[in-house]
C-alpha cells in the first residue's frame, strides 16, 4: 500500500493533540470569560484559532504526512478566499460610511 495508508502513529499522539486542543479552547474561552478587549482580544482569538485549526488539519487529518501534490490542491485555492475577505472588508467599510452619510439616524 501507499505510504500514507500504511503509516502508523501511536495512540498517545492523538491523546496529546486532543489535550492541546482542549487547552487552546479553554484559553480562547478564558479570553471571553475575563473580558479581554480590543486588539489583544482579537490577536489572542486568532492565535488560538489558527493553532487549533493547524493541529486538526496537520495531525488529525494527516495532512502533515501527505504529499506536496495534495497540499497544493488544498491550500492554493484558499488564496481566492483571502482576496474575497479583503474585498468584502473594503466593501463593508464603504457601505458603512455611505449609510452614515445618507441614513437618517
Amino acid at each position: 500500500m501507499s505510504e500514507t495508508a500504511s503509516q502508523q502513529h501511536p495512540i498517545g499522539l492523538y491523546l496529546k493533540i486532543w489535550l492541546l486542543l482542549f487547552v487552546f479552547s479553554a484559553f480562547s474561552y478564558a479570553v471571553d470569560y475575563y473580558q479581554v478587549q480590543g486588539a489583544l482580544r482579537w490577536t489572542l482569538i486568532l492565535i488560538f484559532m489558527f493553532l487549533k485549526a493547524g493541529l486538526i488539519i496537520s495531525i488529525f487529518m494527516h495532512v502533515q504526512w501527505e504529499r506536496l501534490s495534495l497540499k497544493y490542491v488544498l491550500f492554493l485555492p484558499l488564496t481566492a478566499i483571502a482576496v474575497l475577505i479583503i474585498l468584502m472588508a473594503i466593501e463593508g467599510d464603504y457601505t458603512y460610511l455611505t449609510r452614515l452619510l445618507f441614513f437618517d439616524r
Binding site: A5, I11, A53, M61, R67, A89, T95, Y96
Partner: protein, 226 residues
C-alpha cells in the same frame, strides 16, 4: 491493480521534485484511494461555502450601523443564580473536540485491523455528534424564545439573526449528516463488509468529521468570541 508494488515505489520522491513527477509521470497523480481524493475535493468545496458564509457575516457586521449584539451576553447561561458567558457554547466546543479525538483513534485502530475498537470509537464519535446537535437545538429554541429572528432581535443590528441561523444551521446540518454517515460507516465496518480489505473508508469518514470540527473552530472564534 497488479502494479501496486511498482506504483508505490514511484511515490517516494519528496518535495517539489515529487510534486512535479506526481503530475508529470504516466500514473495517477494522487497516491490514495479515489474515495479519499474525492472527499478532499468535496471538503475543499465545502471550505468555500463556509468561507463565503463567514465573509458575508463579516461584511454585514462591518456595514451595520446599529450596534452588534454582544455574543458574550446573548449566549450566557444562568447557573446557580449567576450568568456564565458562553457556557453552552464552550461545552459544545469541548464535545466536538472530543468527538474528533475519538474519530482520530478510530482511524488509527482501523489501520491496525482492530475492527471491534474501530466500530466502538466511531459509535462514540456519532454519539458525541448527536449530543452536539441536541445542544444546538436547545440553543436555537432558547434564542427564538427570546425573540431572535432572521429579520431582527431585541438587542441591536437585525443582521445578527440571519447570520446566526444561517451559519450555525448549516454547520448543524453538517453535523447531523455526519452522524448518519458515521453510523452507516460503523454498521458497514461491523458487518464484515471490509474484512480483509483496506479500511480507508474509516479514514475518509474521519476526514469529513474532522472538517466539521474544523469549521466549528472558525465559527467559535468569529461568531461567538469576536
Amino acid at each position: 491493480m497488479t502494479s501496486e508494488t511498482d506504483k508505490s515505489a514511484t511515490y517516494t520522491e519528496p518535495g517539489v521534485a515529487g510534486l512535479v513527477s506526481d503530475w508529470a509521470a504516466d500514473r495517477q497523480t494522487f497516491d490514495m484511494p479515489w474515495g479519499k481524493i474525492m472527499m478532499w475535493i468535496f471538503l475543499l468545496s465545502d471550505t468555500f461555502i463556509f468561507s463565503v458564509f463567514l465573509t458575508s457575516y463579516m461584511n454585514v457586521r462591518i456595514s451595520a450601523t446599529d450596534p452588534w449584539p454582544n455574543a458574550s451576553e446573548v449566549f450566557a447561561l444562568q447557573m446557580f443564580g449567576e450568568y456564565v458567558p458562553l457556557l453552552l457554547i464552550a461545552i459544545m466546543t469541548f464535545i466536538l473536540i472530543t468527538s474528533s479525538g475519538t474519530m482520530a483513534m478510530a482511524v488509527n485502530y482501523a489501520y491496525r485491523g482492530d475492527i471491534k475498537k474501530t466500530v466502538w470509537l466511531i459509535f462514540a464519535t456519532a454519539l458525541f455528534g448527536a449530543s452536539f446537535v441536541g445542544m444546538q437545538a436547545f440553543e436555537w429554541s432558547k434564542l427564538i424564545e427570546e425573540g431572535v429572528r432572521p429579520w431582527g432581535n431585541p438587542w441591536g443590528a437585525s443582521q445578527f439573526g440571519s447570520a446566526f441561523f444561517m451559519i450555525t444551521g448549516f454547520h448543524g446540518l453538517h453535523v447531523t449528516g455526519g452522524v448518519i454517515y458515521l453510523l452507516w460507516t460503523a454498521r458497514r465496518v461491523n458487518s464484515g463488509y471490509y474484512e480483509g480489505k483496506d479500511l480507508a473508508i474509516v479514514e475518509i469518514a474521519g476526514l469529513y468529521w474532522h472538517f466539521v470540527d474544523l469549521v466549528w473552530v472558525f465559527i467559535f472564534a468569529f461568531f461567538y468570541l469576536w
